[in-house]
Amino acid sequence: MSKGSGQPRSEVLQGTLDLMILKTLKAMGPLHGFGLARRIEQVSEHVLVLNEGTVYTSLLRLQQRGWISSQWGTSDNNRKARFYAITKRGLKQLERETDDWQRISSVIGRILGQESQS
């Protein structure tokens, strides 16, 4: 891990990881766990600390809810890997959660902005 970034880093909030995974799977198509972790790392530009194991916890949870599906396949370097893909229900859920998230974050943003003014 590149330690020299010097930026403050945040823990991944519970629940948000699910959202990130769903979004990533929607954007990238089927991925395996390692690929997912890399993609999130890349997009977050190393701002988020991710215990990568929790990705699997999240994947299991999402699968149980029926929002993603999984299938064994072969990875780029010809090894057996499990690929995860978002389902129709997952797409709907993603839409819902995205709306929620945007609403809440805008509210929180407003509140925090107001606080900094006073």
Binding site: N51, Y56, T57, Q64, R65, G66
Partner: protein, 879 residues
């Protein structure tokens, strides 16, 4: 929906072998790739591996997380909840005690009553295949189940096809057993030779009777009860083959019954289940068709239904009616399953009581739910905090349920102990004639029942705070001092109303039964019940073979007794009122046109001695009582009672008229005596004819001596015994008791059920009062600040009192109204238990609600009073 999907996912995971190994592979691959990346970036191999693992996170915890997600809540976390629940209960001793005690009382009452029901109604009879056993009764239009004439029994046995065995028992025998010391009375039953084999009751030792022994002349054989064998014969097996002398006649003992053999009540007679000695029935070749002493049992052939048996029996009955119109016209056969016969009498009472006790448990549950609600409200903050730091609702709910379950189990266990104690304590007061009153063991079935109620109750009241927990949102956790939610207050009000209503129903029921019992106990029985002592005499038939000897013995005994100190009057009767013994004869009045064939006038038959009417206090309404002059060789006389005079002579004077029964000679009516309640206090008097012992159609060797005494009744037993042995020391005397005891015994069933219902309703009253008290004081505490403001603004004590009590009054009144309305419908179920009281008795319906209202208001008053003493300053600063 979601929950279901997760559930299915878990099931799938289980089926695919847990999936954990494959996930592990996935993880290993992930870490390998990560390591490779760092190696590519130029890290040394071991540092790369370490970094990769760090980045991946704590593997052990992850695995645990997965397991929990994949599997059902593990036993471990359940155990944790259980421990936490127990700790929570322990930390709140007051609350927990209240809950546990309430439940223990409710469950205890339920279990106790269930033990009784279990023994009487559910436990199969102690015979082989008891379901195939039936009783056969004669049935005439006026009597549903009538004992059987020997000739009819013989014909039934020969002509029916539905039964594999038809046997009879004559339970009205008593012998004097000749022993070296005191003479002993033994009660005996005469039975068909195959009686025990039809019941399939094996003997302990020896053999049953042989067909040849069931004939007059060869029937001097006997089978001993296990009790007699143990008490009198020292359990010696050599007894079989030896002889026993009964009424100066020698019987060869051929067998001993097994210890657990019990002739269930209902087969014979109330209160007569124990027979010491069994002898063959040995009917003559020309048995009587006019007397009806036998009880008949039969076993259905394999495959034969009850309906087919009834059809078969009815066909035989109509044959007999055609063949013997004089005796058997309109006489059917009733086929009654043995189980119905045995439980028939007590079943309705027990079912009613079970309903009552179920109500008590409901009230207990409502109380507990109420307590849990109060506490649930008090714990809102705790629950909200736990949810905020990540506990799932399910987890919190499970935790709450665990707490209830812990309390319910302790309550259940305590209730079971209470039930043991209650059954043991109540056993001596149980009606002695209650079917199978041989003890009420609390057995496995009862345990299961208790466990079920405990768990159901736990789940039931565990749900109450669950509703609250579900409503708590995370945002609420940040707020402070919120007032109780409207929904919870409504639920509590509903609970109060329900408790009041149920208590009202129980109180009205208990009130009706109590009033009925009081009325019953104050029915004039037609005789005096005070200062009377009675005891049973058994004259050996062998030496008292004619009426002259019997009455000579009586006369001498009376003489002796009257000379004894403390005895004011003495007399004898064959059948004492309320003692459960009875007999009747068909009679004919001189000069009246003959009745149609098969129709008879029947009156009760009462052999008595001179001095009997005077002793027991029955008034002569006309004519004279019996005197010493009414000897065996004197003109035949009879005294009838008022009912008989009214029924058969109307306004005519019966004295001087003549009638006959049992024997061809006419008897002159010499007097009319007052009516007595003979069978039961709630049974109207029937036609009775009294005859002197000297003039009975057959010698009456079993009788009851009765004396009126001015001194202690207990001392009288010895006087009686001494007098009897002075006259004839071979005559045993037993069953000494006062008339008051006899009366009391005769109402033991109504008294028992009344006592139980009163006890249950008092329990309900207590718990409902606690419930109302709890609710009122809780809501008063919730509104403390409000009252503080009121008082600060100048409200008087009265105003606050009115505010608190006003709401309670409304709830209580609604509850009472609902209860009274429900009772209007429900008390009809009690009709058959009521005597002299209608199910809608106005006194009860006014007094019981008033009583309950006063008690409930008192319960509310104390918390209300406390609310008036609120210091405004303290109240406002509160929170």
């Amino acid at each position: 929906m979601n929950a279901l999907r997760v559930f299915i996912g878990k099931i799938r995971a289980l089926r695919s072998g847990g999936g954990v190994p494959t996930a592990d592979d996935e993880v290993q691959e992930h870490i390998r790739l990560l390591t490779e990346r760092y190696v590519r970036e130029g890290m040394p191999a071991d540092e790369a591996a370490q970094t990769a693992r760090r980045q991946f996170g704590n593997m052990t915890r992850l695995r645990e997380d997965w397991r929990e997600q994949r599997m059902f809540p593990s036993l471990e976390s359940l155990w944790r909840d259980l421990r936490h629940g127990a700790r929570a209960c322990w930390k709140n001793p007051g609350f927990s005690t209240a809950v546990v005690l309430t439940l223990a009382l409710g469950i205890g009452a339920n279990t106790a009553l269930f033990s009784v029901c279990n023994t009487i109604l559910l436990k199969p009879l102690q015979y082989q295949d008891p379901d195939r056993l039936v009783m056969l009764w004669e049935q005439i239009p006026s009597v549903d189940r009538m004992p059987v004439a020997p000739a009819n029994f013989v014909d039934w046995r020969a002509q029916t096809h539905a039964f594999s065995g038809v046997v009879a028992i004559n339970p009205f025998l008593a012998f004097v057993m000749n022993t070296p010391d005191v003479p002993a009375r033994v009660s005996a039953a005469a039975v068909s030779w195959d009686f025990f084999s039809v019941l399939q009751a094996p003997l302990a030792i020896g053999r049953s009777f042989l067909p040849d022994e069931d004939r007059p002349g060869s029937n001097s054989v006997a089978i001993l009860s296990h009790a007699l064998w143990t008490e009198r014969f020292g359990s010696r097996p050599e007894v079989v083959g030896s002889t026993v002398t009964l009424n100066d006649r020698r019987f060869t003992i051929v067998g001993v019954l097994s210890e657990n053999f019990e002739l269930v009540n209902g087969i014979v007679f109330r209160g007569r289940m124990q027979f010491d000695i069994w002898i063959p029935l040995a009917l003559t070749s020309n048995p009587s068709r006019g007397s009806h002493p036998l009880r008949v049992l039969a076993r259905l052939k394999p495959g034969v239904t009850l309906e087919r048996a009834q059809t078969d029996a009815s066909a035989v009955a109509s044959n007999l009616a055609r063949a013997y119109p004089e005796d058997d016209k309109d006489r059917g056969i009733a086929v009654v399953p043995l189980h119905d016969q045995v439980t028939g009498d007590v079943r309705p009472a027990l079912i009613t009581l079970s309903g009552a006790v179920g109500f008590v448990l409901l009230i207990a549950c409502a109380n507990v739910a109420n307590l849990m609600l109060s506490r649930g409200t008090a714990r809102r903050k705790e629950i909200a905090v736990r949810m905020a730091i990540g506990a799932s609702r399910l987890r919190v709910a499970r935790q709450l349920l665990m707490e209830s379950a812990v309390l319910a189990c302790i309550g259940g266990a305590l209730g079971l102990l209470l039930a043991f104690a209650a059954v043991r304590l109540a056993a001596p007061y149980l009606p002695s004639d209650l079917a199978r009153a041989t003890g009420f063991p609390v057995d496995a079935r009862v345990l299961v029942y208790t466990a079920l109620i405990s768990l159901a109750t736990g789940a039931l009241f565990g749900l109450a705070p669950l509703f609250q927990a579900r409503r708590i949102s995370a945002s609420e956790s940040l707020q402070h001092g919120t007032r109780i939610a409207g929904g919870s207050a409504r639920l509590r009000s509903a609970l109060v109303v329900a408790q009041m209503a149920v208590t009202m129903i129980l109180l009205i029921g208990a009130g009706l039964l109590a009033k009925s019992l009081w009325t019953l106990l104050h029915v004039p029985p037609g005789f005096r019940t005070d200062h009377l002592v009675s005891a049973r005499l058994t004259l050996p038939r062998s030496r008292f073979a004619d009426t002259a000897r019997v009455s000579a013995f009586h006369r001498e005994l009376i003489q002796r007794l009257q000379d004894s100190p403390g005895i004011e009057a003495a007399g004898l009767a064959a059948y004492l009122p309320l003692s459960g013994q009875d007999n009747g004869w068909a009679f004919f009045i001189e000069g009246r046109p003959p009745l149609p064939v098969g129709v008879y006038n029947v009156a009760k038959y009462r052999p008595v001695s001179e001095g009997y009417f005077e002793t027991i206090g029955m008034p002569m309404m006309a004519g004279r009582a019996f005197t010493a002059a009414d000897r065996a060789d004197a003109p035949r006389v009879v005294v009838i009672n008022q009912s008989m005079a009214r029924t058969y002579w109307g306004r005519e004077n019966p004295v001087g008229q003549r009638l006959r029964f049992g024997a061809p000679d006419w008897r002159t009516i010499v007097g009319v005596v007052g009516d007595v309640r003979h069978e039961a206090l709630d049974d109207d008097a029937k036609a009775e004819m009294y005859v002197p012992f000297a003039q009975t159609p057959q010698p009456e060797t079993i009788s009851t001596v009765i004396v009126r005494t001015s001194i202690d009744a207990a001392a009288m037993t010895k006087t009686l015994r001494d007098a009897v042995s002075a006259v004839d020391n071979s005559v045993p005397l037993d069953l000494a008791r006062t008339m008051e005891q006899i009366v009391s015994l005769s109402v033991s069933q109504p008294r028992f059920r009344t006592a139980l219902l009163v006890a249950f309703s008092m329990l309900a009253l207590l718990m409902a009062s606690i419930g109302v008290y709890g609710t009122t004081s809780y809501s008063a505490r919730q509104r403390m600040r409000e009252f503080g403001v009121y008082i600060a603004m100048g409200a008087t004590t009265r105003d606050v009192l009115r505010t608190v009590l006003g709401r309670a009054t409304i709830l209580i009144t609604i509850g009472l109204a609902v209860g009274v309305l429900a009772s209007l419908g429900l008390t009809r179920l009690l009709t058959k238990f009521l005597y002299g009281v209608t199910p809608l008795d106005s006194t009860t319906f006014v007094a019981a609600p008033m009583f309950l209202f006063v008690i409930a208001m008192v319960a509310c008053y104390f918390p209300a009073r406390r609310a008036t003493r609120v210091d405004p300053l303290v109240a406002l600063r509160y929170e």
